[in-house]
Amino acid sequence: MLTPVLLFTLLGGLFGLGLGWAARRFRVESDPVVDRIDAILPQTQCGQCNFPGCRPYAEAIAAGEAPINQCPPGGEAGIRALADLLGVEPLPLNPECGEEKPRRVAVIDESVCIGCTLCIQACPVDAILGAPKLMHTVIGAECTGCDLCLPPCPVDCIAMVPAAHAASGWAWPRPDLTRVPAGSR
C-alpha cells in the first residue's frame, strides 16, 4: 500500500518540477493570441467597438473583457473567424456598434473645404493630405472608410462614397444569387 503511494508522489513531484522548469525555460514572450485576434480585425481603426482602435479591442477580447461581436467592418465573416480562433460560439453583430456596410471611402468636396486640418488630425491612418488654410484631399487607396473624419468637419464637406467599380476590380458573383431560382443550366 505504502510503496505505490510513495512511488506516485515521487513521480508526480518529478514531473511537476520538470514542467515547471520547461515553463520557465521555453517561455513565449509576447501574447500571440492578441496578435492573432488583431490579424483578423479589419484595421479600420474606426472605434465603433467602443475601443480606441483595433489593437485595444484585440487586447480586450484576449483578456475576456469584450465580446467578439462589436466589429461592424469585420462583419459576420470576422465574427466567425474570431469564434473559430477562440473556440467560442459565433454571436450576431451587436447592433449598438453599427451595421455591416460595403466598404466606402471618404471624398472631400474640395471647393467647400476651408483647410481647418481637423479631419487630418482625426484620420487614424494618415490618409488625408493638406495644410492649414489650404485645401485637403483624401488618398483614396489608403482610406479605411472609418467615418472618423465626418464629425469634426465644420463645413460638412466630406462624403462617404462606395469604393469604385471597374471591370478590373469586378468579381464573379455567387452562382446561387445570380441564377434564376433553382438554377438554370
Partner: protein, 517 residues
Amino acid sequence: MQPDPIQTAKLAGTRLYHFHGGLRLRHNKQVSCELPIARAALPECVYVPLMQHSGQEAEPTVAAGQKVLKGEVIGRCDHAGGGWVHAPTSGTVNAIARHPISHPSGLDGVCVLVEPDGLDQWTALQPIADWRDAEPAELRELINGAGIVGLGGGVFPTGRKIEEASRRGIHTLILNGAECEPYISCDEMLMREQPASIILGAQILQRAIGADRTVIAIEDQMGAVYQALARAVAATDATAIDIVKVTTLYPEGGEKQLIQVLTGLETPSGGRPTDLGLLCQNVATATAVARAVVEGKALVERIVTVTGSGVRRPRNLAAAIGTPISDLVEQCGGYAEGAARLVLGGPMMGYSLASDANPVIKAANCILVLTENDIQPPQPEMPCIRCGECARVCPALLQPQQLHVTVRNGFWDDTIEAGLADCIECGCCDYVCPSHIPLVDWFRHGKSELRRVAAERAGAENARRRYEAREARLARLKQERRQRMQEKKQALGDQRAKQERIEAAVERARSRRRNET
C-alpha cells in the same frame, strides 16, 4: 539550361502521355472550316477597349479629334501584366468614352473610338531587317512594343512572358495548335493557310528565348494541317522543329495538359511551364510575332471563328480589333432563325454576351451563336450526391465536389489548401455533374473571392502599419514637446540662479565698499 537528354527524347514525339480525366466532345468544327479565312470589312467605327489584358486599363495616348495611322500606339500600360494598344486602322479618333466591352461582367470600359478613313494606311514601320542577326533582347523589346498578347485566350503579354522565360532558361518552345474546344477553328484554319508565317514565328521566338528546339502540337484529326506545316518546315532551313499529333481529348489544348501529354511531366502547383524549361505559345501568337518582327506591324487584328447554328454562313474572319461583333455576324450571312444566345469563346469556357455591339478583343477567338435547340433547358440544381464523376474527369486532379463545399461556405483557407488556384475552369466537372451544380461558376466566384480576401488582408496590413506609424509619431511628438518644456524650465531655473549669483556678488561688493569707507 542545358537540354535534358531524357526530356528531349520524350519531346521527339516518339511517345505520348496522358493527363488525368478529360472528355470526348463532339467537335462541331467542320462547319466553320469549309470557307477560307476572309478579311472582315472595316466597320463605320472601331471601339478599341483599353483593357485587353490582365491587370489595369492602359492609359490613352491620343485625344479626341486626333488623326491616327494604322498601328500607331493609342494606349500604354507599363504595369506588370499590361500591354500596349494600337490603332487598328487609319482614321480619326472620335472620342475616348465608355462603351460595353467584351468582359464577363458586362460592365463598360474605356474605349478609343476610331472612325476609319478607308485608306487603312500603316504608320511608319520599323521592322528588324534580319532577325537572325538581331540580339534576343532587341527582339523581345519589339514584341513587347507590338502589343502582342497570348492569343489562345490567356492574353498575358507575350513580351513579358518571354522576358521571364529567357531569364529562366528554356530548352524547348511548344507551339500550341491543339485547339480542343468544340466549334473553334481559328487556329486550325491559320495553320492550314499560313503555315510559313507560323514556322517563321517559331524560329524568331526560339531565338528570342534562346530555346534549342520547337514542338508544334496539333490534334490528330486535323488532317490537312500536318501536311501544310510539314511542307512549310521543309521549305525553310529550320532544323529543330517537330510537329506532333496529340490525341483529341478535351482539354488537351490547356497549357499544363499539353505539356503533360508531350512530356509526361506535371507543371508544379502554383508553378509555370518555365519551371520545367518549357515555354508554351499559341500558334496565332507566333504569326503575330513574325509579323511584328519581319514587317514591323503591331497586333491590330486577329482571326475570329464566327460559328454556331445561329449563324447562316459560319466561317473564319480576320477582323480588326474593335470591330463590333454584329458586323462580323452580318458578314457571315447574319443570324439564322432561332438564334438565342451569343457566346464569346467556346461552349465550354466562353461566356455569354449581353449585346452584339461589343467589340472584338485580342482574346476573342470565337463568336458562337447558339439557337434554342442547342441550349439545354434550365435544370434545377440538386444537392451533391458525392458520386465523384467530377473528380474522375478533372484534368487538374482536383476534387471539385470538395472545392465546391469550401467555396460555397467561404472556407477560404481550406479552399486554398484544396488547390482552387490550379483549376483551369475547363468545365468538364460542370458537364458531367448529374446534380447540375454550376461548379465552374462557383470556382470562378471562389477565385475572385480569394483575390478579394487577399487584397483585403493586404489593405488591413497596410492600415495597421500606417496606424502604428501614426501612433508612434504622435507619441514621439508628445515626448519631444515634454522635453522642450523641461529644457525651457531648466533654462529659466538656470537664469534665476545666475541672477541670484550676480545679485549676491553685487551685494558682496557693495558691503565690501561699505566696510572700506
